[in-house]
C-alpha cells in the first residue's frame, strides 16, 4: 500500500510536469493521459473503486481522445515542432505564482491536525450511489442532465453556425 502510494505519487507528479512542460504538444497530450491514469490509481488506493472506473472511462477514454482530436485539428504544419516559443512571456512569474500557491496550501495543510483513517474503508457500493442519485441528490442529478444536454446542443451549435457562415462566404 505504502509503496504503491509512493510510486503513484512520482508517476502523477512526473507525468503532470511533462504534460505542461514539453514543447511537442502531442507529447503533452500523451503525458496528460498518463496523468489521468495516475489519478485513477490514486482513487483506487482511496478505495473509491467506482470513481476510479469512472475516471478511467471519462478521462483516460473520452477527454484525452477529445484533446488529441483538437490538437490534430488545430495542428499547424508550418509550425511543426513548435519552435515559436511554446511558453508565454510571463512564464517565470507564472511558475513563481504557482510555486507560491503550493507553499501557501502546504503551510495551511501543515498546521491542520488530521484523524487516522477508519480501518475498514467506508463502503459505497454502486447500487447505493445509484439510489442516492435518484433520492437525496435528485435535483443536482436533473440539473446535470440539463447541463449535459445544453453542452451537447451548445457544442453542436458552435460548429454548425461557423460552417453555415463559411457556406455564405463562398
Amino acid at each position: 500500500m505504502r509503496t504503491a502510494f509512493i510510486l503513484i505519487t512520482f508517476w502523477t507528479l512526473a507525468s503532470g510536469l511533462l504534460a505542461i512542460s514539453r514543447r511537442n504538444m502531442i507529447h503533452c497530450a500523451l503525458a496528460l493521459i498518463s496523468f489521468f491514469a495516475g489519478i485513477a490509481a490514486l482513487l483506487f488506493t482511496l478505495s473509491a473503486d467506482f470513481l476510479g472506473a469512472v475516471q478511467l472511462l471519462i478521462y483516460v477514454g473520452a477527454i484525452s481522445v477529445l484533446i488529441l482530436f483538437a490538437l490534430l485539428v488545430t495542428h499547424d504544419a508550418s509550425r511543426l515542432g513548435d519552435r515559436g516559443a511554446p511558453f508565454s512571456r510571463g512564464k517565470w512569474s507564472g511558475w513563481m505564482l504557482s510555486a507560491l500557491v503550493f507553499v501557501v496550501l502546504g503551510f495551511g495543510l501543515h498546521r491542520v491536525a488530521v484523524p487516522p483513517p477508519p480501518d475498514p474503508a467506508p463502503a459505497l457500493p454502486v447500487a447505493e450511489i445509484g439510489r442516492l442519485l435518484v433520492t437525496r441528490h435528485a435535483v443536482p442529478f436533473l440539473a446535470m442532465a440539463l447541463l449535459l444536454t445544453a453542452a451537447l446542443v451548445g457544442s453542436a451549435l458552435v460548429a454548425i453556425e461557423e460552417s453555415s457562415e463559411h457556406a455564405r462566404k463562398e
Binding site: 500500500m1 502523477t12 507528479l13 503532470g16 504534460a19 505542461i20 504538444m25 503533452c28 496528460l32 496523468f35 490514486l42 482513487l43 488506493t45 482511496l46 473509491a48 467506482f50 470513481l51 469512472v54 478521462y59 477527454i63 477529445l66 484533446i67 482530436f69 483538437a70 490538437l71 485539428v73 488545430t74 511554446p86 511558453f87 508565454s88 510571463g90 512569474s93 511558475w95 510555486a99 500557491v101 503550493f102 496550501l105 495543510l109 488530521v114 484523524p115 487516522p116 483513517p117 477508519p118 474503508a121 459505497l124 447505493e128 450511489i129 442516492l132 442519485l133 441528490h137 443536482p140 446535470m144 447541463l147 445544453a150 453542452a151 451548445g154 457544442s155 458552435v158 460548429a159 461557423e162
Partner: protein
C-alpha cells in the same frame, strides 16, 4: 495506509502544476489541459476527505461524480470553442487571438 496529509499535499502539488500550465503555456488547448489537471487534483482532495472522514457521509463521492460530469461538459464546449476560434483566426495561440469582436 498513507495519511490524509500525504493525499492533501499530493493534491496541492498537482493543483499547482495545473496552475503553472494555465499560466505559462501559449497554446489554448494546453491551457485547457491545465484546467483539467486542477479539477482532477480537487477531486482527489474530495475523495480523500470522504475516505478519512465520517463513513456515513457520502457527499464527497457524489460531489466528485457531479464534478466529473461538469468537467466533461466543460471540456466538450471548450474544445468546440477552440476549434471555432481556430477556424476564424487560423491559430490556437492565445496572444494571436486578441480581437474577439465579430
Amino acid at each position: 495506509m498513507p495519511t490524509l496529509h500525504e493525499y492533501l499535499f499530493l493534491a496541492a502539488a498537482l493543483f499547482s502544476i495545473g496552475l503553472a500550465g494555465v499560466l505559462t503555456r501559449r497554446n489554448i488547448i494546453l491551457v485547457l489541459v491545465g484546467i483539467e489537471m486542477m479539477l482532477n487534483a480537487a477531486n482527489v482532495n474530495l475523495v480523500a476527505f470522504w475516505r478519512y472522514g465520517d463513513a456515513a457521509a457520502t457527499d464527497g463521492v457524489m460531489l466528485v461524480l457531479f464534478g466529473i460530469a461538469i468537467a466533461g461538459a466543460e471540456a466538450a464546449v471548450g474544445l468546440a470553442l477552440i476549434i471555432a476560434v481556430y477556424r476564424r483566426f487560423r491559430t490556437s495561440r492565445l496572444e494571436e487571438v486578441a480581437g474577439l469582436k465579430g
